[in-house]
């Protein structure tokens, strides 16, 4: 049986779940409010008078997704575990991958909807000056990748538990760590301790560092590879956890 059709079925079902409940709308509204609010209030978007979004707007996305990504993704498997529907889903003649990927993609679409709806800020920079659209695109792609990575992390955590709240708290913590290990003050500190190797390693494996170039308009291969590996690894780990829980 063609797996893509079943992925699509799961995807549609999950998307229905997001948009038939307040979750998707709440996420989108909160995301837009915070993304815009940070840009104007903390990012000094107006004062800068620059047709550039990297410092004012995109800079805050890792911190937003660290909380909002898990909030969107927390229902992925914990809800299945709580309702017992995993017993239905996993006795269907589909591979668990089908369900894992379908759910992940649906959550990504919710996230994407939030990102797309921040377009007014792009219109504003267009009004302020002559923005470099390549840079803006890179920023959006990087931001989406970091969001998708938080969702993938949440996917694994949600497979462990039947409680969405537990999943949310643990996922936020993990995403927070993955971001934090790359921030410049920490890296400086570790370097000063004479642990240069560790510093580079932490930096290279952090959300923060791998987002830094895309945010400023440069998507490098290593950043792409990094995010795609995080996502693949987490989805694979989800399948392992699901299998282990049943045994």
């Amino acid at each position: 049986m063609p797996a893509h059709k079943n992925i699509l079925s799961v995807f549609r079902r999950e998307l229905g779940g997001y948009f038939n409940s307040p979750l998707a709308y709440v996420f989108i509204i909160i995301f837009i409010l915070f993304a815009m609010g940070f840009a104007f209030l903390l990012g000094g978007f107006i004062e800068r008078q620059e047709a550039d979004l990297s410092a004012s707007f995109f800079q805050f996305h890792p911190w937003l997704f660290m909380i909002l990504g898990p909030a969107v993704g927390m229902r992925m498997w914990s809800e299945e575990n709580r309702l017992g529907t995993s017993e239905l889903l996993l006795t269907m003649p589909i591979s668990p991958w089908t369900a894992i990927v379908g759910k992940f993609l649906a959550a990504c679409v919710v996230l994407l909807a939030g990102l797309v709806l921040t377009f007014p800020i792009v219109i504003t920079v267009e009004y302020l000056g002559d923005p470099d659209y390549g840079t803006i695109w890179a920023g959006y792609i990087g931001s989406f990748l970091i969001g998708a990575a938080t969702l993938a992390v949440t996917s694994v955590i949600s497979a462990f538990t039947r409680s969405q709240v537990v999943c949310l708290i643990v996922s936020v913590f993990v995403c927070f760590l993955l971001t934090l290990i790359g921030i410049p003050p920490l890296i400086e500190f570790v370097r000063d301790l004479g642990l240069g190797g560790l510093a580079s390693f932490l930096q290279g494996s952090s959300f923060y560092e791998n987002y830094d170039d895309p945010r400023q308009g440069l998507i490098r291969m290593q950043n792409l590879v990094y995010f795609l590996s995080v996502i693949t690894f987490c989805l694979f780990a989800t399948s392992v956890v699901i299998r282990a829980r049943r045994a």
Binding site: R13, T91, M92, P93, I94
Partner: protein
């Protein structure tokens, strides 16, 4: 169709299913009986491929479920215990989703959904959201899901749980009807259901099969099976003494009766000698000139058998 051999499942130190073997052929309805915690649901979860077996093999239509899970799962319809449902869907949406998971798309899916809804009498709630359904309707929605793809094999964990008497009756006849062309396993705590719908029943206790046979075979295992119930027009003490003295009579247990006279349940001296016992009673009445107003053989009841061969939970520890 379903062949289970030496199936064992342990959870840590606890053995939930212990060396279970059975098979179900096409056209058979197998009833699973057993006290709470006997391992019925655990067995079903293994047969449907939800949890792996610790030991033993399960073959579904000739396919080993470990070797090719999807081919095996494809043949099965499953109603899990407690009928789990996606709360955020409508009834028709949910059944349609399950049909798609089973490989039915487009017009095929719509036709299958309509048929399943009709079979399980869900028309009135067709477009209602699952989270607002009553318990019986929830159960029927999940049942509809299990038959939507017209599977060769049906595994139903307590399919009549929470249904009203009319629906219980409908579901039993549905199981019986489908049983003619499918292989069905269903578990239940309602023993009449076994007589009404099963061609064979297994009683499981603490993970082991303790009885296996047709409902009639099982009933015959009751210690009461073969007893004779009588009412005779005579003084109670006199009749009782005379009966007890008869060599064909094993024991006399007086019973309440609305008929005038002496009523009792007689146990034959030897288990199989019900005929001799009845003849002896008739002769005795003839000799003494008593009227014999009632004489019939007591049929074993399944719940007697059930209680006799499964130890209650309270004793387990």
């Amino acid at each position: 169709m379903i062949e289970v051999t030496n199936l064992t499942k342990t959870f840590g130190p606890k053995t939930a299913v212990d060396d279970l073997s059975f098979s179900v052929k096409k056209g058979e309805v197998l009833g699973f009986l057993g006290p709470n915690g006997a391992g019925k649901s655990t067995t079903m979860r293994m047969v449907t491929g939800y949890i792996p077996a610790t030991k033993g093999t399960i073959r579904i239509g000739g396919v080993d479920i470990e070797a090719d899970p999807n081919a095996a799962k494809f043949k099965i319809g499953y109603l899990p215990e407690n009928a789990p449902l996606y709360e955020d869907m409508t009834v028709a949406g949910f059944i349609g989703f399950c049909a798609e998971m089973r490989g039915l798309f487009g017009a095929d899916r719509d036709k299958a959904v309509d048929k399943a809804i009709e079979t399980t009498f869900l028309q009135p709630v067709r477009n209602q959201s699952v989270d607002t359904l009553s318990k019986g309707y929830r159960h029927r929605t999940c049942l509809a899901q299990s038959i939507v793809h017209d599977p060769e094999i049906l595994i139903l964990d307590e399919p009549t749980d929470g249904l009203d008497p009319n629906q219980k009756h409908e579901v039993r006849s549905l199981i019986k009807r489908m049983g003619e062309t499918k292989a069905i396993i269903f578990s239940t705590h309602i023993l009449e259901e076994v007589e009404a719908a099963c061609s064979r029943a297994i009683i499981i206790d603490r993970g082991r099969v303790v009885a296996d046979g047709t409902p009639n075979d099982l009933k015959a295992k009751s210690s009461k099976a073969g007893n004779v119930h009588i009412t005779i027009g005579a003084e109670a003490d006199v009749a009782r003494a005379a009966l007890a003295a008869n060599p064909a009579v094993g024991s006399v247990t007086p019973t309440e009766s609305s008929n005038p006279g002496f009523s009792a349940e007689l146990c034959p001296a030897k288990k199989t000698q019900t005929g001799e016992l009845a003849a002896a009673v008739a002769n005795l009445c003839g000799e003494k000139g008593w009227t014999l107003s009632e004489l019939h053989q007591v049929e074993g009841r399944l719940d007697d058998v059930f209680r006799e061969i499964t130890r209650p939970d309270t004793e387990a520890a």
